[in-house]
């Protein structure tokens, strides 16, 4: 175990490198990569690593990057890529395919606003494009979490009960380019944590065809299996947390990270780094005697519904902070979780920090003041932050 001062981009790449090496005794590691701000340093770092039985293919586009990952994973190798924003949009067609083939590919996403107009700053709209495709999704709040989540994502994605691709997201620049101390386990420990990759349906000796035509009944059967495997991933993740703790001596973060939530009458719900700011707001307001808590949704797919229901029970006011807009509807997180609260609770949606706005404590405090004054829930509000 060593402690290194690295950016979250590098933490993700280091996680992938260690995971890649851990598969050297099996079918190896192969990855297709393509640069885009703010994820570029992740793929550059990966290109600089020596990985035994590993190959990083510098391709011509994100579409091809995911294409290489699909080919590699369908041949039984461990596979990883990283992208952002328009790169993810360009890759999308192959992301659909990767999920339907049920290939355990892991991707790091440094969240960035989709363009044009070009904007390089954080917004979750890019990774949310994958929301309904059958990818596991995690949103991280610090560099250590990014590293840990990449390792756990491989273990979760490759678990035979789950077997599907996963993304680990970090807010562009806010995390991707921030240096922080990260505990890095040695290769031996990672080898213990991550068993070698087994893709049971890989292209091997038998003459089966992947990705064939299906009739509707078959497609429904496959979707049902995929959906159920996704739901089962919540429990599998809990097992992975235990194994992580046993091997690395510390616990990887929960699907839902609660902060002073148990006795709170008001909750701030968010994803990614806004959650850390929300926790500092909770500290500040608690000092003034207010019963405020924070809920950070770290696992977004599968949606940890039971955990959220547990935390929401008895809470009368909930502010949902979305760093995204589903145009014509509101924030995506708000739309998904408002049904989990008590029927008489006010669940107010705020879209804040959209397209890279810097969300600071005072902004969140203002939103809470707004929430306290609400008599009833109103349409989700877009909040500009200066």
């Amino acid at each position: 175990m060593s402690v290194e001062l690295i950016s979250a981009n590098h933490a993700a790449a280091l996680g992938a490198t260690l995971a890649g090496r851990a598969n050297r005794t099996a079918r190896g590691f192969c990855s297709g990569v393509y640069p885009i701000t703010p994820t570029t340093e992740c793929m550059e770092y990966l290109c600089g690593q020596e990985i035994e039985k590993g190959k990083v293919v510098r391709v011509d586009s994100e579409h091809s990057a995911m294409g290489v990952c699909i080919g590699a994973s369908s041949a039984g190798a461990r596979s990883f890529t990283a992208t952002s924003s328009n790169g993810l949009a360009y890759m999308l067609e192959n992301c659909v395919a990767a999920a339907s083939y049920r290939l355990p590919i892991v991707m790091a996403v440094s969240n960035r606003t989709l363009g044009p107009p070009w904007n390089i700053w954080a917004d979750h709209g890019d990774s949310l494009l994958l929301r309904d495709l059958g990818w596991l999704q995690f949103y991280c709040a610090d560099n250590q979490e990014v590293f840990d989540t990449v390792l756990c994502a491989f273990k979760l994605a490759e678990d035979p009960r789950v077997l599907m691709p996963a993304i680990s997201c970090m807010d562009g620049f806010i995390l991707s380019h921030t240096m922080a101390q990260v505990e890095i386990p040695g290769q031996k420990l990672v080898d213990r944590f991550l068993p070698t990759t087994k893709v049971p349906h890989r292209l091997n000796k038998s003459a089966h065809t992947l990705g064939q035509l299906e009739i509707p009944q078959q497609a429904v059967a496959h979707r049902t299996q995929h959906h159920q495997a996704m739901l089962a991933a919540v429990q599998v993740y809990a097992e992975i947390q235990d194994s992580f703790e046993e091997i690395f001596g510390r616990r990887v973060a929960d699907p839902v990270v609660a902060y002073h939530a148990d006795d709170a009458d008001t909750l701030i719900v968010s994803m990614g780094t806004i959650g850390t700011t929300a926790e500092r707001v909770v500290d500040q307001l608690r000092e003034q005697g207010q019963r405020v808590g924070s809920i950070r949704v770290r696992m977004f797919r599968p949606m940890p519904e039971n955990d959220l229901r547990k935390y929401f029970a008895g809470t009368k006011r909930i502010a949902v902070l979305d760093r995204n807009i589903s145009l014509g509807y509101g924030g995506v997180l708000w739309g998904e979780i408002r049904g989990f609260s008590d029927p008489d609770a006010i669940v107010q949606g705020y879209m804040v920090g959209v397209a890279g706005g810097d969300v600071r404590r005072e902004h969140i405090i203002n939103l809470l003041t707004d929430l306290q004054q609400c008599k009833t829930e109103s349409a989700p509000k877009i909040v500009e932050v200066a």
Binding site: R27, G28, C30, G32, K53, G54, K55, V57, R58, V59, D60, S61, H63, S64, A65, M66, G67, V68, C69, I70, G71, A72, S73, S74, A75, G76, A77, S79, E93, N94, V96, A97, Y101, L203, N204, K205, S206, A207, H208, T209, L210, G211, Q212, L213, E214, I215, Q218
Partner: protein, 311 residues
């Protein structure tokens, strides 16, 4: 082996023990892609092959899950991803020191058009892939729209009066990548075809094969004359048969007679050329221009030996 037999029905001891294309598949009668796969069965024998097929007719050929008409481990990919997925499969085979030959089987749409960038990049990286383009000169899967491989004068569902542009020079493009091997293949010349398939299967690095693949459905031709159409295309000089080593060493394999008879027969046996009424005079300059260049590239002033005997 004169005419390749369809659907594995004429299986011989020389062939792969299970034909690549199984009997009972749903390809149209007279489909050039079927012939190609039969030839591949013989050329590949029982070597370890894996096939990558982007969206195209060949993806439909495999049939409905869970049965498959292709007897080889196969992955069907998105339309533009043939060469990138094949890169992943081939890379992992290489990492594991396997003798697997990864074959990407793609239509002209997936090669000349939507997959061009992916293909070019894989060729530039010299990935260990055998890329075979079966060129039926249309988007067959979606009902026969124009592609950049559609020849001048051919009607498609999107060029009703006949296409006015000239077919893209895919061999020139691939040769310009200086890949180890690029060759055009005539389904009417089995010996030359088998030699090239065998050679291409065994060379390391990126190999490209261009196959004129008759499509009775789209060409509005009789299934029974498919092979004859290829012969006419070769004879007339419309479809030059040559190979390029490392992008600079050109060999012309079959010398056409450039006869009007062959060209007119080729055009008249397909209803796709009827609407435009495209004439020999309109097509001839393109043939001549191409052959002029080809002769220059192959370093031959004199016509090549006729029907060179392979192997």
């Amino acid at each position: 082996m004169n005419e390749p037999a369809l659907h594995g029905m004429a299986q011989t001891k020389k062939d792969r023990s299970a034909p690549v294309l199984r009997p009972g598949n749903t390809n149209c009668g007279g489909c050039g892609m079927s012939n190609l796969l039969q030839m591949l069965s013989r050329a590949a024998e029982d070597s370890d092959i894996k096939i990558v097929i982007p969206a195209c007719c060949a993806a439909i050929t495999t049939g409905v899950f869970p049965e498959s008409s292709i007897s080889v481990p196969t992955i069907l990919t998105t339309f533009a991803a043939g060469a990138s997925v094949a890169t992943g499969v081939a890379s992992v085979a290489q990492l594991n020191n396997e003798e697997t030959r990864v074959i990407c089987l793609a239509g002209d749409g997936g090669t000349y058009d939507i997959g061009m960038g992916t293909l070019s990049a894989a060729a530039e990286r010299n990935e260990d892939i055998l890329y075979i383009c079966y060129d039926n000169e249309i988007y067959g899967n979606t009902g026969g729209q124009r592609s950049s491989a559609t020849p001048t004068g051919a009607s498609t569902t999107t060029t009703l009066g006949g296409k006015s542009e000239v077919k893209k020079d895919i061999m020139g493009i691939m040769a310009a990548h200086h890949i180890p091997y690029a060759a055009s293949i005539s389904l009417a010349h089995a010996d030359d075809t088998l030699r090239k398939l065998r050679f291409a299967l065994n060379v390391k690095g990126f190999r490209f094969l261009h196959v004129l693949a008759p499509c009775p459905t789209g060409w509005k031709s009789e299934p029974a004359v498919s092979i004859e159409l290829v012969r006419l295309a070769v004879r007339s000089g419309l479809f030059p048969i040559f190979e390029v080593f490392d992008g600079d060493h050109y060999t012309i394999n079959i010398e056409p007679d450039f006869s009007s008879e062959a060209l007119l027969m080729y055009l008249s046996l397909q209803r796709r050329f009827r609407k435009s009424g495209v004439t020999e005079e309109a097509i001839r300059p393109n043939i001549e221009r191409y052959w002029h260049q080809l002769r220059a590239m192959s370093g031959r002033i004199m016509p090549a030996i006729r029907n060179i005997k392979a192997d």
